[in-house]
Point group: D2
Chain length 250, copies 4
């Protein structure tokens, strides 16, 4: 078995080393990761400039690009003779739950694998006092072994969030909802010019039954199956039924 590991915290982060080590017993692990932190670059692809790929040691590479760039270069260049059987992204330093998966480079790396038809898992460590990456490494290996054995439906991936304290077990969940809170903080630089930071206050979650947020809050690891296809089937149906009323006059 061949496993490609990437992340968005960068090659030198602790989480990716714990992850790569944890997966070693399952097969040959290749790491292709950004050369620096890339948090919240989401599914960015670097198209306007070429990328540099640096071989650091055997099966270990750094890229001056995004997580999505890394998975693309990993599959199409580094491992092109024998593509990976599984892509695992993480362990992210911090949660990737609910609506916030849209911003996540860790989840996007897994989506890129799904676009290329390869099963994928994204693993994130929710922060809290005295957390350690070790339990998340164990969870990742457990789920990776099962996915390698059973596969995943085409166009899907597993999004995993591990609670700060050793998890009580797994829960299959849906994405939670974040309540909108104050999103912009005004600041002044030392030269007196106004500037704005995105995202002040802590996110507030709605305690929806079955959500990833609730599972983690209750001490469980959340495993949320995600789909590549974002078509809203229900709305599509109702639009089709009412199509005439949307017509654009010639």
């Amino acid at each position: 078995m061949r496993i490609l590991v990437s992340n968005d915290d960068g090659y030198h982060s602790e989480g990716i080393h714990v992850l790569a080590d944890a997966l070693e017993t399952l097969g040959e692990v290749w790491v292709v990761a950004p050369d620096r932190e890339n948090s919240a670059v989401s599914h960015a692809l670097t198209l306007h400039r070429p990328l540099r790929l640096t071989r650091l040691s055997e099966r270990r590479y750094a890229v001056d690009g995004t997580p999505t760039d890394c998975v693309t270069l990993g599959i199409c260049q580094v491992m092109k003779e024998h593509p990976p059987d599984l892509v695992v992204s993480g362990i992210n330093f911090g949660a990737n739950m609910g609506d916030d998966v849209h911003y996540s480079g860790t989840v996007s790396a897994a989506f890129e694998a799904a676009i290329m038809g390869i099963p994928a898992i994204a693993v994130s460590q929710v922060l809290g006092e005295h957390f350690s990456f070790v339990p998340a490494g164990r969870v990742a290996r457990h789920l990776a072994a099962l996915v390698l054995e059973r596969g995943l439906p085409k166009g899907t991936l597993l999004n995993v969030n591990v609670p700060p304290r050793p998890p009580k077990g797994l829960r299959f969940t849906r994405l939670g909802k974040r309540r909108y809170t104050e999103g912009v903080v005004e600041d002044t630089d030392p030269r007196g010019r106004v500037c704005y930071w995105i995202g002040g206050g802590d996110p507030v979650w709605e305690p929806l039954p079955g959500s990833d947020f609730l599972a983690v809050a209750e001490g469980y690891t959340s495993v949320t199956p995600l789909q590549l296809d974002m078509t809203h089937e229900g709305l599509l149906l109702s639009l089709l039924q009412d199509a005439a009323s949307w017509d654009l006059p010639a």
Copy 2:
């Protein structure tokens, strides 16, 4: 009515001016857009540094950030006294269909509005010989008027792609599938160092019935309803039914 317009091609692109002009008859149009091209930054949020907001003229602003930054600053800062009734993103220079919506800054700007509970439309112009933005502007105004009147379900948006020649009409569609083609091109810089460009060859689409790609290929404007929530309900159900077999031994 108050409409916030943004894009990912940047404030100085032609598409955003055509769009802002087309929407003027529907209400007060505010533009908050990146100060340069941001293609394929996807849903990136700038969290590691503060943003600069430059007022260019009445209700026109540039931001040194991403499309998602622009929508956030637009709603939470520029228009904070009276948030917009609608967010329209575009007109993008080039298609945003199928799996590629994951990479799209134009679509992400609309998703950011949806996260904040505001109806949103993303508009893209498929390229081709002798195309013009004018028909796309007309389509955008038509759909914007209907969405302002009828609303959209929470957590959804409309993703619109306008064909290169004047469209024959609208079609409600689902996201198409792109077939995987050669993704990385090796290059050598003038100093002899190897580097890699993401994405050579033209994308090849599977001609799925009902897809955005097919509608556009047949000369129609595609309108695809998208959802914020990427949970795969079917896979979630089957995982829940089989949960015991996924258990992690303590």
Copy 3:
């Protein structure tokens, strides 16, 4: 006569437009400037990625790079059939005097021209209440006309700083000295992480006779001749005289 104009505040800044207009009476003016603000990039050359050159209108170009990139592309690509007779950089929004010329993109653009053997002038507008770029434009045209007529010694350029109020006249000066003041300001981002801004407090200048700073403080435009060659001749002589005492044992 052919004149190449560039700057580091970017194509859309006011200063470069005043400068280009002021020089129109002297010859054919070409503008190749960064597509966004590049302050304090100094003499950076973009070597790790290729540059995009966008033609905006006749003899007007934007580059996604630094001032030095712009001068290089301007001379070697845009104007390669007939290189310019003069390069003028500015009008910078803010002073470039004393030690600070080392940080200045405006001055570096002029140095790049000097490296390529073309006479060059860097023009900066010192800020102050009610300043206007108009007098600086007039000064630039006056000096440009004289340099086009008389030339400059190889490897030199003129660094011009115009005071905030209409100047009383020109003074030829040397670079002043800035007294070291507190250089780093600690800040905390909204997520509680510490970060550091370079450069708090206002610079304090030593009131050296003959310095650029003093000329501007007294209401004159300072014109400082700069040289490309930074060899310290005096120190070189004394090192050579004492060379034996520096020998490295084999």
Copy 4:
């Protein structure tokens, strides 16, 4: 003795480790270096955003900024209780000679120290077959010991280039001259858009007696004293003598 070490190839480059190890016998070595390669950023200062300072281990720090940022943070923040007695920058991967010192981040780091009144040395390894950083480390320690003992005149620094083969000895030199060669290479990205790389062809040097280039070509280490003050005294004198003819009519 306290020594601050920085560079522009980044914290993870080999040259800075060889340098820091070589200087350990002379005093307490502190390293504050960029978290990634910064070649050719020259004397850039990061003013538009705050910087992150990461402590990697005892007296070892990485900064998400330029070499000049690193020296500023090193002196004003990291070592602010007891500023360094000497700043050494390098060992750069590649030469920094002649006019090219204007582009060099390695030399700029040393200039920043000079601006702050601290003696500084910039060390670069000229590339060639079978080169090693070890001789350059030895040269750096030798010169650092002498500069710590004897000091350097205010506003000066030593720019050192070590040849690819073990050096025959030291030579005190002046900056050489590069002959202008073809500077821009046109390229086409995989999507067919034209772009431009700065700097094709190898630089060609004029074989000036006493130049750094000649010393290195003949197998010696070149040591060039540089000055912060770029005023051209000779031109200033002749301009002053002829000042009336430059007058700007009111």
